[in-house]
Amino acid sequence: MAYTINVNGKSYNVDVPGDTPLLWVLRDVLGLTGTKYGCGIEVCNACNVWIDGSAEKCCKLPVKEVTQVKITTIEGLSADGQSHPIQKAWIAEQVPQCGYCQSGMIMRAAAMGSKPTDAAIDSMPNICVCGTYNRIKKAIKRAGTGEFGAYPPKP
């Protein structure tokens, strides 16, 4: 069955069973491998993307349910792949270690807006086995100072 989905501002026709999770459509069909598989059961949040600008897990999200929404992946967070204030802050604070969780972390962090409360940061549900949490927190706060420019509007 063919579905039309909007990813990073582009329309794609994908011919897959409707219950195929968005994660695997992105990775295996569209070749957008920046979004990661970590658990497949909605616990780790490695698979976080934006659905209409809000951070969501997509490892169990059937593709047939996302035909009417705007999907944003890490590849679409900024036009040049490094200019979102969160991306700049991540580089400045040297956040990534293995980096595998960071797409999900960044999509989650960027969706919170430029000045999330400590409570909001503490409630981030993403797992980083490398344990980069201290630097993530620093980077989010640093991005919130405006040092790297204003947050662009979400799609």
């Binding site: 616990v43 590849e75 040297q94 990534p96 293995c98 595998y100």
Partner: protein, 726 residues
């Protein structure tokens, strides 16, 4: 940065101009200066794999001024590729921004483990950089017709100090490529370092913030199909044939102890594998493979009297790992004795990226794309399966690892991918679901430890007797335990510098068949808990402050004392603690580095302990990149913290309890303490930092917990059976 002398490991370095074949085989840019440099890989865990393999790395200086370092070793987040390239930048006198780093393929590569990746190889990379610099200077001197001594180097150029003329490295590279390689070179003195010891940014950060970094699981090979693994839930079991191909699958392939289901995408393959029903031939003893049985066996072996004979079957035999003074004899005459029994679970690795490997095998070639800590072992795995192919037919592409943690030394997933690719005759990307990844691991061994302490009437510690019962990683891999026993069973309790003159440390090999492997910090991961908790318990028994007791016991170890004092200072040990909080302290040397941590916790809930802060001090001799050292300490602490809180794999009829993060939790943001790291550049031999952050955290938390609650934790994890949701 320290102004003390810096000692770096000496390796035997061989440097030559690269052969034409080298140039053609991997260098896409023609021309320029290409140096090859080799040394023997003295991997410190020789039994793991790949030791003794000659290593070749390369530096290329292009006519376009690019400087590329081709470096081996597995990158799993620890920054090894950038770390080694820093050595080249230092001695070649080029700005860090101008250096590019590329991994090289496996036949030329080495084992990444024992926290030694950067520290062991730094001299080699520096010498190679200095050699390239000397060649460029000689080329400039020849061009100008002057003596090399009038030439100076600065930021990618050679300057004639008499005329102020200057030639860039790119301009000089073609001539330098024709000059003889100097026999000796001069390294930059440590007092003049511009790159080493500074927090230069890693080269791999951009791809890790925009989704472009390619991990093993991201590999796309034209025409590939997707295979998902369904392992026998009991290690060593085999699938009963035939296996019916499920509707929707492209193929099923029976493997040694697994079945692979092949489909047109990852999700379909995993789903089909999950629902596929397979009958297995279980190992004959599988019904006895229960955690309760393992505990009973450990209790029995705790009293074993079987003598250890080097080279014999030593399961259950008592190996003397360390003895000093009168050993355990003082226990019988002690005024006071303590008997402390500690117990540790099997642990899964659960790297963020599940196991995966992509393989393409044709009648004349074999290519792998694999996230691995042991590229050379992957090559050997492939060669063993395809013995008729010539060496030149193999290529191993080393992919980024989404975590390694010791799991990606193993070859199980590599062999499986190769077998499926051979069976199908087309490229295959093979992956484990998270459930498969946790369910068939080479687990951190369980361990049981008994500590007996003798104290005389004057509060002197007159005897320390430690006996550890632990499965042997080496012996399970076919290594017959010889005169040295199994160091992984007691590392962290032997060789400690505490002034305990009468000591006996024994190792008894547990006979559990559960597969075990190297897990970040290996034996230190539990032995630091044994030693440091015992010290804390002794302090309680004596009515001493645990920090001050350690100070006394470390009177003859200035280096450890410095680390301990700095941690106490950083963690505010002597300042009042907040109401409802308590502090704990622990010290652990491992892999040549010394780490002390002071934690501050508050009242635990039923599922976790709130750790507010960790003050961490590390002496790794010399921190090549302080920013990376800080990251490794923070990461090690979080890894040790997750394991201490919740990490536990139990077994029932050989089947592991761990299924996914839902019942094998990992720390999230709310669990993360504020971790402050202080580095001491003591001038001791440069040592690793990937693992040494792990061992002290669990005993430090347990010590604080005792202070807060009066309860001793002697069994890990603190909170077994906790579940986690998203």
């Amino acid at each position: 940065m320290s102004d003390r002398t810096i000692h770096l490991h000496q390796e035997e370095v061989k440097i030559t101009h690269a052969s034409e074949m080298d140039r053609r085989s991997f260098l896409k840019k023609a021309g320029g200066l290409l140096l090859a440099f080799s040394f023997e890989a003295g991997a410190n865990r020789a039994e793991a794999a790949g030791a003794g393999t000659p290593i070749t790395n390369y530096i290329h200086i292009g006519a376009d001024e690019t400087v590329t370092v081709f470096v081996g070793g597995g990158e799993m987040g620890q920054g090894i590729w950038s770390g080694l390239a820093m050595g080249v930048a230092e001695d070649l006198f080029v700005a860090w921004e101008k250096i590019a780093v590329e991994p090289i393929t496996a036949s030329l590569s080495w084992l990444t483990g024992g926290s030694s990746g950067v520290s062991r190889r730094m001299t080699t990379f520096r010498t190679a950089g200095a050699t390239a610099r000397t060649l460029l200077v000689n080329a400039a001197a020849q061009t100008w017709g002057v003596d090399p001594s009038v030439c100076a180097v600065n930021n990618g150029a050679v300057i004639n100090t008499t005329t102020n003329a200057s030639l860039t490295y790119g301009q000089l590279a073609p001539l330098a490529a024709t000059l003889p390689v100097p026999a000796t070179v001069v390294l930059v003195p440590s007092t003049s370092f511009r790159v080493l010891g500074t927090a230069v940014p890693r080269k791999d950060l951009y791809g890790k913030v925009n989704g472009q970094a390619k991990y093993g699981l991201d590999v796309v090979v034209p025409g590939m199909v997707f295979a998902a693994i369904k392992n026998c839930p009991v290690a060593g079991g085999t699938p009963k044939l035939p296996i019916t191909k499920p509707v929707g699958a492209l193929a099923v392939v029976a493997l040694d102890s697994a079945v692979a289901v092949v489909a047109t995408n990852s999700w379909a393959a995993m789903n089909l594998a999950n629902s596929l029903s397979v009958s297995w031939n279980y190992p004959t003893d599988y019904l006895t493979q229960n955690s309760t049985n393992f505990a009973t066996t450990a209790s029995t072996l705790m009293n074993s009297t079987k003598p250890y004979v080097a080279g014999a079957d030593n399961s259950g035999a008592v190996y003397t790992a360390e003895t000093a003074g009168t050993g355990a004899a003082g226990l019988s005459t002690a005024a006071k004795t303590l008997e402390l029994n500690y117990s540790f679970p099997y642990l899964a690795h659960c790297c963020m990226e599940v196991l995966n490997c992509t393989a393409s095998v044709t009648p004349t070639s074999c290519e792998l794309w694999v996230p691995t800590q042991a590229p050379n072992s992957c090559l050997k795995t492939a060669q063993a399966l395809l013995p008729t192919l010539p060496a030149s037919a193999f290529k191993v592409n080393v992919m980024l690892m989404g975590g390694g943690l010791g799991r990606k030394f193993e070859q199980d997933y590599v062999k499986q991918a190769l077998q499926v690719a051979i069976a199908l005759g087309k490229p295959v990307k093979l992956m484990y679901s998270r459930e498969q990844d946790m369910g068939r691991d080479y687990y951190r061994p369980m361990a049981v430890s008994r500590v007996r302490v003798g104290i005389d009437a004057a509060n002197n510690i007159t005897a320390l007797h430690i006996r550890n019962v632990v499965p042997s990683i080496s012996n399970q891999r076919g290594v017959v335990l010889g005169a040295k026993g199994d160091s992984a069973g007691t590392e962290g309790v032997v060789g400690r510098s505490y002034a305990l003159p009468n000591r006996l440390v024994e190792y008894v090999q547990h006979t559990s068949p559960i597969p075990v492997g190297y897990w970040r910090s290996v034996g230190n991961s539990f032995n630091a808990f044994v030693m440091e908790t015992a010290i804390d318990e002794i302090a309680t028994a004596l009515g001493y402050d645990p920090y001050l007791l350690r100070r006394q016991l470390l009177a003859n170890d200035a280096r450890s004392l410095d680390v301990l004092d700095a941690a106490a200072q950083l963690g505010g040990w002597n300042t009042p603690v907040a109401a409802g909080h308590a502090r704990g302290i622990a010290l652990a040397p491992s892999f040549g580095s010394i780490v002390a941590q002071v934690v501050d916790i508050s009242m635990p809930t039923t599922t976790s302990i709130k750790v507010h802060s960790v003050a961490c001090v590390v002496d790794c001799g010399f921190a090549m990149n302080p920013n990376s050292v800080e990251a490794q300490m923070q990461g090690g602490i979080m890894h040790g913290l997750s394991a201490a809180m919740w990490g536990q794999v139990t077994f029932s009829k050989g089947v592991a309890s761990a299924k996914n993060f839902s019942n094998y939790p990992a720390a999230k943001m709310k669990d993360a303490p504020v971790i402050t790291v202080q580095i001491i550049n003591s001038g001791a031999a440069a040592s690793g930092t990937g693992e040494p952050g792990v061992p002290p955290i669990a005993p430090a938390i347990a010590a604080a917990y005792f202070k807060l609650t009066g309860k001793r934790i002697r069994t890990l994890p603190f909170f077994p059976g906790v579940t986690m949701s998203g």
